[in-house]
Symmetry: C2
Subunit: 512 residues, 2 copies
């Protein structure tokens, strides 16, 4: 009977003797846990919450966000950061990243945080209305307001060259607009060139076969099989249905949840959507449990996260070896839709390139142009080279220059994405960076795993997943994104691996 | 653009000017919201969480429980309680109940709370093992420890007559062991007498028809139909599958969730389980949104809560009018199982009385004896009239005296319920009190709604639900349980309504 009493006394003693570093990490872990509870509240809201639960849910989310902010920005956090000492590399990384987040958090006054939350709540309603009525002017004052507030954020956080850097830093720490500009300039030139070359290709693929009828009930087990095949662990995660697919981490590496949407007249939505979200999920499941809820147990950046989803979705999922393994099964699953389709025709269809208005439906080549367009417009807005009222004209002009097409209205033009209404400026570039990281990582993985294509063709994804776990996942935030890329591939980030990968694939598909 | 800024300034001003009562209620609401977030973490754990998420979930639950306790027992709560003034009856009730909870909470030191949590965690493991190996001695020391700790709790909270009162007070505020003893003594005598009379009844019903094959896929929509039929609002709730059925409130009256289990060889499990949990759910959905997360928006007590579930499950759900309306539909749903069964035979089967070892499977008559047995044993333990080591013997002796049967081992005897391993002493009586409250409320409802049986026979439950909403649900914790019963029925709680109800039903079924 004494055991319990002693244990409690022992705990108190341990607490008193704990080092400043350990006390700091306890705080950080609790803040991380509050964040994961927010994820559950969000996940449930998307998937299960009854409609009339919305008001209480908004209050619960605000409460947790407030408590989390309060705990993290408390003076005690700052004091512990001053006195904490790192005894090893992991602790150094945890201290570095905690300090980074803390410095950001305390620089932004609570009133400004609340004002942004309030303004973006209004902006989301206005954006929805503007899309419905196709009137950019309904959204414009809200966009101006959010840009103004985000400029205030950038000013408070501070930056060397331009405000946009401070905003990107939230999503892709260390990235600067100037560097991204250089990268994207040649990326844009290459992409526009490739698209133009495809116009006169001798054997363009027929993507219409993907729009045949694919019964949902047959898609569900197939998608689960694909997720399991690449290594997603359903004892440490689950998959559900939602309107917009996403991946969320509810309880560290042990509880990672993805969602999918099933479209009966467009097979890629669920198929590649699942591979994409499961790719995000593999990263989260590959973070080390011992570092859960500390920076060492968190993903490096949004760009690196996106590299993991795009690697599985595209580099693996749209590759010929992958379909050599899986096409027969998919054909058997949908005999009506695919009975008359060859492996080569299917492979061509899933790699077809076609300029389109909407980013989220874009193919692997044109997708990046959609991102570059948004980056150029966002940056111009934050350097005052573009006025909010001129956004629709600038958008349409760039659509024409990049793709040779013009949106018929702003709803399929500059109003298509939700990001701006949420005040998320500097977020879009991470999508294209993810594609570049993915190609560079994959090129190196292929060097290191000599029989990689053969393994994939046999449905054996363990070597590749093992390589990603070893080189990327297990490190958490140990290295910044740029440092990680150099350590893993021996080179700084470049567009060359992506160019080589996409050119050879698309040229083969189009018979160039 | 000025609107948002003004709004924020206005909010701050409002906060500064808020009365002590309003500030106190803000605290109380936040504590309530944290409690509802715990409910979501629990609900998700039962229904969706992958197995490897368990460790992180335990930490999340402990974190929220700790934050909630910290916020509620903070000095500021006590200070506001001293200075807060009530301007109306609602505020009076909120203050009275907040003070009650606060006084309880601050009387129990955190170390004792932690010790109980730790001891009951160990006890749950020991209980599971004791059941598996059928060795009460494995569980006995843990039971002793928990009784000892709960005596400490009772001492700290204080009581007039005996420690058991202080424990019951957590679940059924105001109830005393002495009062319950008087009530239960005549309840026991009546019930044992009724069971004995049934032994020689001329036409006992045949309950075996309920154990035929009832396909799960057919049960699911039927159960949903029953829940909707009695008024459960699926836009403010949902129904899922879990091992043990329960009802939980995730977001005030707007998000109330029930669960069901489907047994293909026992129709009542899902059918009456759904009516029971939906009955709990109707109470929660009937609490007023304007009082959400304050005592005025909470159920009176566990006993009153159970009265709502038992009223719909039994007083309505096992009544002849109800089945006059629904039997044909159920018969059509299960033609193989019920094709040869008459309405009268079905009605008899769902009202059959048979002594059994296990409480949760007991019928409407014998169920109460299971509760009375536990009350007598618990109370003897807390008055030191019974030693823990003698619990199995006392249990078996009472089983024999009450039912004329003896458990073949302790697993189907004194080890069958989880409650003691959780340290929940004083909880069981609320189950039987619920049955008594239910009968007394229903008797009054029948007086007030002259055509109640006809309405039920037409599937129209709106008059009854409206009556419950008006007389019970909307009041939240405005009145204590005893006061509520007197206000609604004009009489203090008595066993007479239950006696009259059950005797007339069972005698008719058995042809007495």
């Amino acid at each position: 009977c004494c055991d319990e009493i002693c244990l409690i006394e022992f705990e108190s003693e341990t607490e008193a003797m704990a080092s400043a570093y350990e006390k700091l990490m306890d705080r950080v872990r609790n803040v991380g846990r509050l964040g994961s509870i927010e994820q559950l509240l969000d996940w449930d809201q998307e998937i299960h919450m009854p409609t009339r639960g919305a008001d209480a849910r908004a209050e619960q989310l605000a409460l947790i966000a407030g408590l989390s902010h309060e705990q993290f920005t408390a003076d005690e956090t700052g004091n512990l950061l001053v006195s904490a000492e790192a005894n090893d590399e992991c602790a150094s990384a945890n201290l570095r990243e905690t300090k980074r987040s803390y410095d950001r958090a305390v620089k932004i006054p609570t009133a400004l945080v609340k004002e942004i939350a309030h303004a973006s709540s209004l902006a989301k309603h206005a954006w929805t209305k503007a899309r419905e009525t196709d009137t950019f002017s309904t959204f414009a004052p809200h966009l101006s307001k959010l840009i103004d507030l985000k400029k205030q954020v950038a000013d408070r956080i501070g930056f060397e060259t331009e405000a946009y850097d401070a905003l990107m830093d939230e999503f892709e720490p260390g990235a600067t607009a100037a560097e991204v500009e250089v990268l994207f300039a040649s990326f844009r030139e290459f992409t526009v060139g490739l698209i133009n070359r495809l116009k006169d290709a001798p054997s363009p693929p027929d993507a219409s076969i993907l729009a045949r009828h694919y019964p949902k009930d047959a898609q569900v087990p197939l998608c689960r099989m694909f997720a399991e095949s690449i290594g997603f662990d359903f004892s440490a995660g689950r998959s559900d249905v939602s309107v917009h697919p996403f991946c969320t981490t509810i309880g560290g590496a042990g509880d990672v949840r993805i969602t999918t949407r099933y479209w009966e007249n467009f097979l890629p939505a669920a198929l590649f959507g699942t591979l994409h979200e499961a790719g995000h999920g593999l990263y989260e499941q590959g973070l080390l449990a011992e570092h859960a809820f500390t920076p060492m147990g968190e993903a490096v950046s949004l760009g690196i996260h996106e590299s993991q989803s795009r690697l599985w979705e595209n580099l693996v999922g749209r590759s010929l070896p992958f379909w050599k393994c899986h096409f027969e099964k998919v054909q058997q699953t949908f005999p009506d839709a695919l009975g008359d389709v060859s492996l080569d025709a299917f492979y061509g269809a899933i790699n077809a390139v076609a300029p389109s208005m909407i980013r989220v439906e874009a193919d692997e080549v044109t997708y990046n142009l959609h991102i570059i367009l948004r980056f150029e417009i966002e940056r111009a807005l934050f350097t005052d080279k573009l006025d909010v009222s001129d956004v629709p004209a600038a958008w349409n002009e760039k659509m024409n220059a990049f793709f040779g097409i013009t949106p018929k209205n702003d709803s399929e033009g500059c109003l298509q994405d939700i990001h701006w209404s949420m005040g998320a400026f500097g977020y879009f570039p991470t999508y294209a960076l993810g594609n570049l990281y993915a190609a560079q990582f994959f090129e190196k993985a292929r060097e290191d795993i000599s029989d990689l294509d053969d393994r994939i063709a046999k449905g054996d994804h363990a070597p590749l997943l093992g390589w990603l776990r070893e080189n990327i996942h297990r490190h958490g935030k140990r290295y910044a994104a740029g440092e990680l890329v150099e350590r893993v591939t021996g080179k700084p980030l470049s567009i060359e691996p992506f160019k080589a990968y996409i050119s050879s694939k698309v040229e083969a598909v189009y018979g160039l």
